[in-house]
Each structure stands twice: as C-alpha cells, then as structure tokens.
C-alpha cells in the first residue's frame, strides 16, 4: 500500500500498542541498525502518546520526522534515518554462527575459532579493552594500559586443549582426598611430611602469584591464555589448600621456611617479562617439581600424602606443558629469543649464587621419607635416593628444554644453572 504523502518506506515496523516508554524503541532499533542513512521507516502503533514522543525522539536522535497517517489499525508514523555513521563504521558483527557439538553433546573451546572470534591478532589494539575478541567495538573507546599486546609474547598453539583439560580436571581438596585414611605416624616421619608440605606450599604460592601478576597485563584479545592462567591459579590455590591441610591433619603442623627458598621464589616473582617468568616457573620450576612430587608420592608414608601429590602432579604437568608450548611458539617466532632466555637463566643464577643446595631441612625430609623413617639401616640409602632424584631432575630438564626448542648444549647450561631450590 503506497501512501500519497510520504515516500515508500524501506521498512515497516509493527509496534502493536507499544509506546516509546514501553518497548517501541527496541522494536524500531532492531530494524533500524542495518538500514542505510536516509532510509525511510514507517512505524505503526496504537499508543496515542507516540504522536508526541516519536517526533521528540527523532529530533534528539537526529532522524527526520516526516509526519503521520491514520490507518485502519492505528496511525502510522514516518521518519527518515539520520545520516551519521554507525558506531563502528565498516564492521559488522558475525551472525548465524552455530558451533558444532562433539561426541556426548560437548562444546569445546577450540571449536569457537570461527568467524571474527577465530582471528587472533598478531598485535592487539589497546582500545578493544575488555571487549571479547570478535565483538564490534565502538570507536572512541578508551585505551587500556595492557602491557602485553603481541601474540608472540603469550601465545601457545596448544592452549585450547590445555584449557579444556584444566576445566575437566578440577578437583576438591576437601572431599576428593581420603582424609579419613590418615593414621598417626612416628614423629620423625610426620615431621618430614610436614616439612615437605611447608616447602611445597610456599612454592605453590609463587606459582599462584606469578600468573596472577601477568593476567592484568595481557590484552584480553588473547583470552584463551588468560583463561588457562586462571585455571592455573585455581590449581595452585587448591594445592596450597591441600598441602596446608595435610600439614595440619595428622598431629604435626607447618614447619620451617628457609631464607634461601624465599630468595629463590622472590627472584621468580620479580620477573617482569611473561615469557621469562613462564619459562623459569613452568618449564624449569614446575618441570622439576614433577619429579619431586613423584618422589614424595612414591615414598609417602600414608595414602593421603600420596594422593595429594599425585593430583598436584597431574595439574602441574598441564602448567609445564603450557610453559613449554609457549616457549616453543616464542622461539619459532625469532631465533634471537634463545639468547634472551639463556640470559634470563644466567641472571637469576648470578643473583642466587649464595644458594648452593636445597634447604637442608628439605633434603633431610626427603631422605627420611625414602628411608621409611629415621631408620639407621636405611638412611644412607635414602640419601642416595635423594641424590638420584637430583640427577633425574637434571635429565628430565634437559629433555623438556630440548622439546621446547633448545640445543643440547644450551639445555645443559640452563639446566645446570637452574636453582637447586627446585622451583
């Protein structure tokens, strides 16, 4: 039906009985957004207030109100869309995305890499702020002070799978550990366990604080890394909880924290570069911890200690994998990065020259564990097993460093320079 008084509208909006204050604007906006400037819109509504409110709304929004016609089903109002550009010129949000489900109706994170979401920028803009990757961001948004805006600096090809594993493998330190199986232990053995729990806990604090410090620096355009690091923080929080609970659960208590351990952890926390921190913490530190946790699990005098260490080791293994995957990604971007990381390791070693061995209390606790107690016949053997652990740690570090992309020579120097404090 053509009106004689008004141009043919591009769109007709059926507003029912809605008014400007009761939802009519939402119906209009739904049709208005995709229209070009100067398009004519016809709005039908039976709300009498619209006769006053639509012209005023048009004026404030810089649309040209053209007038109204009376129709059989209520008056029809005409206006011409304003000529200013849409909020983000030249960009349209995606529409029609329907992510595929996997077996068991699962929707995996990797599978969201489609359309605009799938475009991870090499260099992220600071003005996209907290907008999710793929959203259309209005121009004129403020710049955020994110320090990490380059993909190289944080990315890991395997981050999707690692995040998927992390979310699937969360556990509950209050209920998933068989706390009821704890039995009283001889004092020397309980003291050794408590000393190790104290040591593990302080190390886990550093493993919680280091990623925590970097998350606010990472541009959310690299959100998968941020999400993964958040799971890492949750993992470490749970480990702190579980190790502390074990120290308090069986007649002992938290024991000594060595100054040398604190120094080692502080040099880790003081790292200012994400890749350096990730390398030192996850590849070298947590990597070494995998061997330590397995050792404690193997010689644990009770099933609770063994189970906590087993579960923590599974979690730590994800963190190690992320660190290795990131370092591998980083090294392939530019060979000069080898030198940077080697320099980082040397610098930390130079700063920690005074620390030549892991705290004697920790060494002794490990030996007592391996000896099955303060057992005169077996202490020498226990001490030997601790030495073997150190050698094993070195061998495994070499393997991990080579998988991350270092030559055997580079790996050897780095591994030998790694802190005797394990983390």
């Amino acid at each position: 039906m053509t009106s004689s008084r008004f141009p043919d509208p591009s769109v007709r909006v059926e507003g029912g009985a809605l008014g400007v204050g009761t939802g009519l604007l939402m119906v209009i906006r739904e049709t208005l957004d995709p229209l070009p400037a100067s398009a004519v819109v016809a709005v039908r509504t039976s709300d009498p207030a619209a006769a006053h409110d639509l012209p005023a709304w048009c004026r404030v929004m810089a649309h040209s109100y053209l007038g109204s016609d009376s129709g059989p089903e209520g008056p029809v109002y005409y206006f011409r869309k304003g000529e200013f550009r849409p909020v983000a010129a030249g960009q349209q949000p995606d529409w029609g995305i329907r992510l595929p489900l996997r077996k068991g109706q699962e929707l995996h994170t990797r599978d969201w890499m489609v359309g605009r979401v799938g475009q991870v920028p090499e260099e992220a803009l600071t003005t996209t702020g907290f907008a999710p990757r793929g959203a259309v961001v209005e121009e004129g948004a403020p710049a955020f002070d994110f320090a990490i805006n380059s993909r190289d600096a944080v990315w890991a090809a395997e981050v999707f799978d690692l995040y998927e594993q992390a979310t699937a493998n969360q556990w509950d330190a209050s209920r998933d550990i068989p706390w009821g199986l704890l039995q009283p232990l001889p004092d020397p053995m309980e003291r050794a366990v408590c000393q190790l729990m104290t040591f593990l806990t302080e190390n886990e604090y550093s493993a919680l604080y280091v990623p925590a410090k970097f998350i606010p620096q990472i541009n959310p355009q690299f959100n998968e890394v941020v999400l993964f690091l958040s799971t890492q923080m949750m993992d470490e929080a749970r480990h702190i909880e579980a190790f502390t609970k074990r120290a308090l659960a069986n007649g002992g208590g938290l024991q000594y924290s060595a100054a040398s351990t604190q120094l080692s952890l502080k040099t880790l926390f003081d790292q200012h570069d994400f890749t350096s921190a990730s390398f030192l913490l996850s590849v070298l530190g947590e990597g070494t911890f995998l061997d330590l946790l397995r050792f404690i699990e193997t010689y644990a005098p009770d099933p609770v200690t063994a189970e906590i260490c087993r579960r923590a080791r599974v979690d730590e293994s994800r963190h190690v994998h992320f660190g290795m995957a990131h370092v591998r990604y980083y090294l392939t971007q530019d060979p000069a990065h080898y030198g940077e990381l080697l320099a980082t390791v040397r610098e930390r070693a130079a700063f920690m020259r005074s620390v030549t061995e892991v705290s004697p209390r920790v060494q002794e606790a490990l030996a007592i564990l391996a000896a099955g107690g303060l057992n005169l016949d077996r202490l020498a053997e226990g001490t030997g097993q601790v030495r073997a652990l150190m050698d094993e740690m070195h061998v495994h570090r070499l393997q991990r460093l080579q998988v991350a992309g270092f030559t055997p020579e580079q790996a050897d120097e780095m591994s030998r320079l790694h802190t005797p404090n394990f983390m």
Binding site: G19, T22, L25, D47, D53, V60, F84
Partner: protein, 277 residues
Amino acid sequence: MAIPILVGAVAYDARVVPIWEGMRDYFREAGPPIDYMLFSNYDRQVQALLEHQIDIAWNTNLAWVKVHRATNGTCRALAMRDVDAQFTTVVIVRTDSGIESLADVKGKRVALGSADSAQAAILPLHFFQQAGIQPEKDCTLLRFDLDVGKHGDTGTSEVEVLRALREGKADAGALGDTTWIRLIAEGRIDARQIRPIWTSPGYCHCNFTVLSDFPDLDGQSWTDALLGMHYDNPRWRGLMDQEGLKRWIRADTAILEGYQVLFDAVERQGLANNWQF
C-alpha cells in the same frame, strides 16, 4: 599567535568544564583558537557580553531575548545545536486526571518548572494563554523555582514537575521535550500513570550570540569551524553526546523566527519590567 576568541558559557553542571576543554582542543585544530569563560548564571554572562568581556555567549533563548532587547536587535546569532531548532514543550498529565486536551486543565493543579525556564514555565504559560486559558486564575499553579539564573538548564525543576505528577500533587505539568524523551526512553516513566497530551509548536532554544561589532569574517570562520565538528569522528563524539547534539547548524534567518514566540511571551507576561538590561 592570534588572540583566542573568548566564548562564555554558564556552568550549569560539572560536565560543562570537560565540554569546553574539548571545545578548546577542537578549535585549536579546526581553527580560530578559542578560550572560554564560565559564569554561574546567564545574567552575568549577558552582562559580560554587553560589556565586551567575552566575544561569543552560549546563550539560552531567554538570554538571547535579553541581549536582543539590550542591543535593540543588533546582536547576531551564529550557530546552534540541531536540537535547539524546533525545540518543543510537552504538556503531560496524570492518566487519572481526566485531562484530554489543553482546555481541560482549567480547575486543575498544574506544575511548572523554574520561573526563568522558557521551556518549562514561560512558554507553557504563553501556550495556555493562546489556548484561551488564564493559568493564574483558571488553574492552581505549582512552581518549582530551582536553580534560578540558569534558565532551566539543570533540569532539576523539570524533575520536580514529574515528581509532583507521580506523587499526585499535580494533575498536569509542562517540561521540555529533551528532558521528557530522555526519561521516557530510559524507561523511567510509568506510561500507565503519566502521558503526554500536547506538544507545542517548535521554537528555538540556545544559540551562540555575538554583538554587532563582532567582525563578520571572524563570525564566519568560527561558525565554519564549528560546523566541521562531526559526530562520526570518535574524538568529538563524547563531547557532542555530553552537549546533547549530533550536528551543529547555522542560525539563519528562517531558524531565528523560532525565537519570536518567546519575545511575545516575555512581552505578554511583562517579564522585562524586572530586567536589569
């Protein structure tokens, strides 16, 4: 360096400072540089303009009338916001008041904004008179004289008009359409309780006023620069949002006719008798 053109504005809200800092930044790039001077009320600003302490005054319609009378009509208007042309006053009523048209306000309680607000007091009275109502006699007027001197810019008196209707203290009220449409579009009005029944003819609101001896060329280049501020440019969009416009427009002769109704209202209500200018 050229001496900046000095623009006066009334500080009706804290956001006036960032608006004019932004305007100064804009003119530093777009051309003739400006500085600004803020006043606490329009009479001070009008006086400063008449005494040549400022070059341009960002005036309300009532301030324009004052300058116009004081200069025997020799002052000029350079430009205004798109929303300043075809500004309207809306008469709203309680839905339970039985008021369907302007004539029905006789015998009712009518809420008005500040006495110096053209949109919420001076012009509504005038429009009532034009409709054959003598509001002072025929109605019980509730006047909310808030922020007097700022010509209704703060909008506080319009909020009180709405409150009076909402609380049942008034049956009808008048306010500017920009305030009304903002509140209704934000969903802050219960349409079952309050609705508009009448919209006035369009009239003009603010403009940039200069005296007759302000050089034509300066007025031209300043106005050209102002009109070059585009809402499409994200750098100025925030400023324009704060000032409530999408486009600056030239104040040409046809547009300026939109001030006549206020001249008539001021005359009819004898308001100028108390003016110092």
